[in-house]
C-alpha cells in the first residue's frame, strides 16, 4: 500500500528529472512529493543531485578570452562581402 502511495526509491531516482521538469502526471507528482517528504535518503539524493549541478556550474565556469570576439569581428569584415558589411572597398574595417 505504501509503495503504491509513495512509489519506490528506484522510481524516484530514475524519473527525478521528469519530476523536476514537470513532466509527470498529477498522480505521479503527488507520489514523488510524498516520497521525497517521507524518505530521508531520497531527499538527500535530490539535494546532492542539485548540488552536483550547482558545483559543476561554479567550477566549470569558463568565459572565453574577451579579445576573441574582436578576432571574430575582424574575420567577418575580411571574409564577408565588403559592401554587405558596410565597408567601402579598400577602407579599413570599422569596429564599434
Amino acid at each position: 500500500m505504501m509503495k503504491l502511495l509513495m512509489g519506490t526509491h528506484a522510481e524516484v531516482r530514475e524519473f527525478l528529472i521528469d519530476y523536476l521538469e514537470d513532466q509527470l502526471s498529477a498522480l505521479k507528482k503527488v507520489q514523488f512529493r510524498l516520497h521525497l517528504l517521507m524518505c530521508k535518503e531520497c531527499g538527500e539524493y535530490l539535494r546532492k543531485y542539485d548540488s552536483s549541478v550547482s558545483l559543476a556550474q561554479h567550477y566549470l565556469e569558463d568565459p572565453p578570452p574577451p579579445e576573441l570576439v574582436e578576432l571574430t569581428l575582424r574575420f567577418l569584415d575580411e571574409r564577408a562581402s565588403p559592401r554587405e558589411r558596410g565597408v567601402e572597398p579598400g577602407a579599413e574595417p570599422c569596429h564599434p
Binding site: R13, K48, A56, P63, L68, V69, T72, R85
Partner: protein
C-alpha cells in the same frame, strides 16, 4: 541593443546591417565559443569554428524562419560545424581513450549508494583549480553528444526544448541524457570526496 529579437532587429540583420550584426556577434560569441570549446577541447579550433559559424549565420540569415530563437538557430549551426570539425580532424589522430558510452554512464549513475556530505564547503577539501580540473576531466570522458546536452542545458541555461532544437533530438532524449550526466557527476563528486566510488 538588447537580446530581444524585434522585427526591426531581424530586418536589420537580414539587410546585413554592420552594427546590427556586430551586436549580434558580441551578444552570442561566448555561447558559441563555449559550445565549440567544450566539445573540441582545443582553443584554436574552437575559435575557428566560432568564426565559421558566424560567417555561415551571416551568409544564411535569410534561411532563419523564426521557428526557434535566433540564438538556438545560431547554436545549431555551431553544433553542426563543431561535429564536422571533430569528424574530419580528430577521427584518427585524436582518439580519446576511456570515453563512456551510454551503458557505462548508466552503470556509473547507479553506483551512488551512500552519500557523504561534500556539498557545503567543497574547497575545504580541494583547491578550486583541482576541483575544476577534475570536473573538466570527468566531462571529457563523455561522448560529444552527451557533453553538448550538459553544456547547453545546465551550463548555458537553455531550456530542454531549446537544447533539443539545437541538437536535433527529441526533448525526451535531452532529459534522459541530462539525467545520466547529472547522476554521473554526482558519482564522480562522491568518489572525489570519499564516498562510494564511481568506476565504470
Amino acid at each position: 541593443m538588447n537580446g530581444q529579437l524585434t522585427a526591426e532587429r531581424l530586418a536589420k540583420l537580414r539587410a546585413r546591417d554592420h552594427d546590427a550584426f556586430n551586436a549580434f556577434v558580441r551578444e552570442h560569441h561566448g555561447a558559441v565559443y563555449r559550445l565549440a570549446h567544450r566539445l573540441l577541447r582545443h582553443a584554436e579550433d574552437a575559435q575557428e569554428v566560432t568564426q565559421e559559424s558566424f560567417l555561415a549565420a551571416y551568409e544564411g540569415i535569410e534561411r532563419y524562419e523564426g521557428r526557434a530563437s535566433l540564438k538556438t538557430w545560431l547554436l545549431s549551426i555551431a553544433y553542426r560545424k563543431t561535429m564536422d570539425r571533430m569528424k574530419t580532424r580528430y577521427s584518427e589522430s585524436h582518439t580519446v581513450s576511456g570515453v563512456l558510452d551510454d551503458d557505462a554512464l548508466w552503470r556509473i549513475a547507479q553506483s551512488v549508494q551512500r552519500l557523504t556530505d561534500w556539498a557545503i564547503d567543497p574547497e575545504q577539501h580541494y583547491a578550486r583549480g583541482e576541483l575544476s580540473e577534475r570536473l573538466h576531466e570527468a566531462l571529457a570522458r563523455l561522448t560529444p553528444e552527451t557533453r553538448s546536452v550538459f553544456e547547453l542545458r545546465d551550463l548555458q541555461g537553455l531550456s530542454s526544448q531549446e537544447t533539443a532544437d539545437v541538437l536535433g533530438i527529441s526533448e525526451g532524449a535531452v532529459r534522459v541524457r541530462l539525467h545520466r550526466v547529472r547522476q554521473y557527476l554526482m558519482a564522480e563528486l562522491q568518489s572525489l570526496f570519499g564516498g562510494k566510488g564511481a568506476q565504470p
